[in-house]
Amino acid sequence: MNRPGEEKLKHLFRPGSIGRFKTKNMVKYGACCVSNYNGRDGFITPRELARVRVIASTGCGIITNQGAYPDPLGEGKAYFRQVAIFDDKFIPQFETIAGYIHDAGAVAIQQILHAGRYGGIDLGYCIQPSVVPQTLPHFRPPRELTKEQIKAIVAQHADAARRAIRAGFDGTEVTSFMGYLLANFNSRFTNQRSDEYGGSVENRGRFMRELIDAVKQATPDSPMLIRLNAAELMDRWGGNSEDECFELMQQAVDCGVDMISVTVGWQEAPESSFGRDVSPGHWNHLSAKAKRLFPKTAIAFGNRLPDPVMADQCIRDGVFDYWEVCRPLLADPELIHKAAEDRLNEVRPCIGSLNCLSRLFRDLPYTCTMNPVLGHEVEPEYAITPAVEKKRIMVIGAGPAGMEAAITARKRGHEVTVFEKSAHIGGNLAAYAANDLARPEDLRSVIDYYRVMADKLGIEVRLNTEANAKFMRSVLHQYDVCLVAAGARTDLGAFRYLEGAELLVDALEVAHGRIKPGHRVVMVGGGMIGLTIAESLTKAGHEVVVVEEEKRVAGDVMPTFKWRHTAWVDELGIRTLTSSRLVKVTSEGATVKNAKGEESFVAADTVLVSSPRKANHDLFHEFQWMVDELHGAGDAVIARGLDAAIHEGYRMGVRI
């Protein structure tokens, strides 16, 4: 330990061991997500290899490579472009990956993932212990496994493990997370068998025990890890209780697994396990219980635990042995190094938006809201390289798009000045954070990151400075480039012919705290902005009615978070009038017309407008002849959201 952060986080950075292998620290890179970067035939692509090189260099003591399906039919294949390990022909590519991991000084673990109930993505069916219908339409109709098929699957896992070790991996991991085949046998939700594989916990655990035995026999000198639920969150559906989950863990311990990775939740569970609405550390008690019950088996854990400081304390307190981390490393692959160098304030935070998973369920490669490079590591165009010609750049707007562009351009050697008309950075993200019911700290951490990096890189941020034509004339020829990242605004002009339009109030003014609405509020627009403000106002005691032209609210919300908004609307009792539009406003309230042409009056003290939004294009026209290069990024180009802002800001930063 010779870096300053290692001494501070000495539990996290102490060496450990797994089987016969030493680990340089107590951090395990978890195979949290299948990337979907690979071939439809299971072969690994250059895009994946470039990504794995980044993973290998994260500084983790153990690195788990993403789950590969072990069967030639693809019954175990969960994701559209998942890697395969059912044949020796795949071994050379796994050798490359094991090499990357070893070169970085980490222990290499290959995960074997048979998705069971969530598998068969290229087939018309999935396989399960019993025929239990799906609760999510994304997945395939079930077929029940015969005993012969069970034995074949066990053998396929053993063969896959053997191949992984031949390829140079140090150990293997099988996974039940989150509702895959192993979980399907363990859970009484999906295991209704009456033979020796079903019924009691002992019988339901038989498949797992056979699997462990087979893998251990196939790879006797290599550690075997297993990911098991401590809570399925499926109790109401007839799933396992917490006690049953721990009874199954006991069986795995008795079979001699080298590590249990404790997990929480199924994909179809009705509540969150690691979304932004779950507080960091929320599930730690489950890991602590596993550690208490199985003191001689290494316990890894990381569900909704994105903070290395918390992880260090957990290891100190015996909550777990290894911090299993993945999504925070998707957001910032330098996280562990920054922790070791005592630069945690420079970490690009994972905000738990689950953009990664939203894309997987649309059969797209995963990306990250916070990390624009994720998935583009193979493309040199995304690398930050010194600019051939150093330029003086002015960035208009200190929101995420502007700050991202400023930081990226500055790293390349440009001189960058940011002009922001308000008194703080963050743009509308600050207003969103101020009204967010889930985890406002997560959103604020993004702004904090930009502030820290701007300071560190010497980016001048001129607050309270509105960029307009007059201002531009005052700085004429002082800059080579102008990047307009001035965001979007509420388009009140869309209502200019409406009777009473002068009474309408911009919802963003309320979100920023510049206007206080009356007690009774009508919110025009039920998208992300309208709902977030409506929820916040309702929680503060206002009576809010949301009017939305579309058939449903939350149309522009990230799929993994849409359910949260609709649940909040229900829980808070917010009335929503969908397929409805505003037709008249008076000082008494708003008149609304629905799709059938029926008008109704909603009493209100304030009528707020959150939609439609309009990109701030005006500056483009004003500045067109005043600067050499004029570019745009984020909502200033097209009104969208945080991920587009950050990604476009970055892309502009690496291109200018």
Binding site: S130, V131, V132, P133, Q134, T135, L136, P137, H138, F139, R140, P141, M178, R188, F189, T190, Q192, R236, W237, G238, Q267, E268, A269, P270, S272, S273, F274, G275, L354, L357, L360, F361, R362, K551, R552, P559, T560, F561, W563, T566, A567, D570, S579, A595
Partner: protein
């Protein structure tokens, strides 16, 4: 009350009020509701009960016909024979709450009951089949994730 669902005309009126949710559905599309107690589904063994139940109770079917969504009562003989695209298994309390809400926000109530676990929900067709049959609007209205829900 003759059955767990009460007066079917009240359900029909509710469906008529929300006709737009079903307007895109293909004729013949069917949704079923069964009561957990009448279906023999026992606590903690929901699926086992669901699968074991053979004609122990009634199923309220909603079927898309030319004139819109129509309710009817049928014998329930297990999900394999129910000929439905979606099957809702409701606790008795949930059914009572739904009946209470029929003249008001019944779909909102169903949505809340699904989230609270008072109603279980199974899909018998995959997303493409459901999409083709015009179910997206209805499923979204109940707050059900049409795609994955990993969260």
């Amino acid at each position: 009350m003759a059955n767990a669902f009460g007066d079917l005309s009240a359900w029909q009126a509710m469906l008529d009020r929300h006709a737009e949710l079903f307007s895109e559905m293909s004729a013949g599309s069917r949704v079923g509701f069964v009561s957990r107690s009448e279906s023999g589904v026992t606590p903690g063994k929901h699926v086992a009960g669901l699968m074991a139940a053979k004609g122990a109770g009634d199923m309220m079917a909603w079927e898309r016909r030319e004139t819109g969504m129509q309710t009817s009562l049928e014998d329930y003989a297990g999900f394999q024979d129910a000929r439905v695209d979606l099957l809702f298994v409701a606790e008795d309390e949930a059914l009572a709450a739904m009946r209470e809400a029929l003249s008001g926000e019944a779909l909102g109530m169903i949505k809340r009951l699904i989230r609270k676990g008072g109603i279980m929900f199974y899909v018998m067709k995959n997303k493409y089949q459901l999409q083709d049959a015009g179910y997206e609007e209805f499923l979204e209205s109940l707050g059900l994730s049409f795609l994955g829900a990993c969260r």
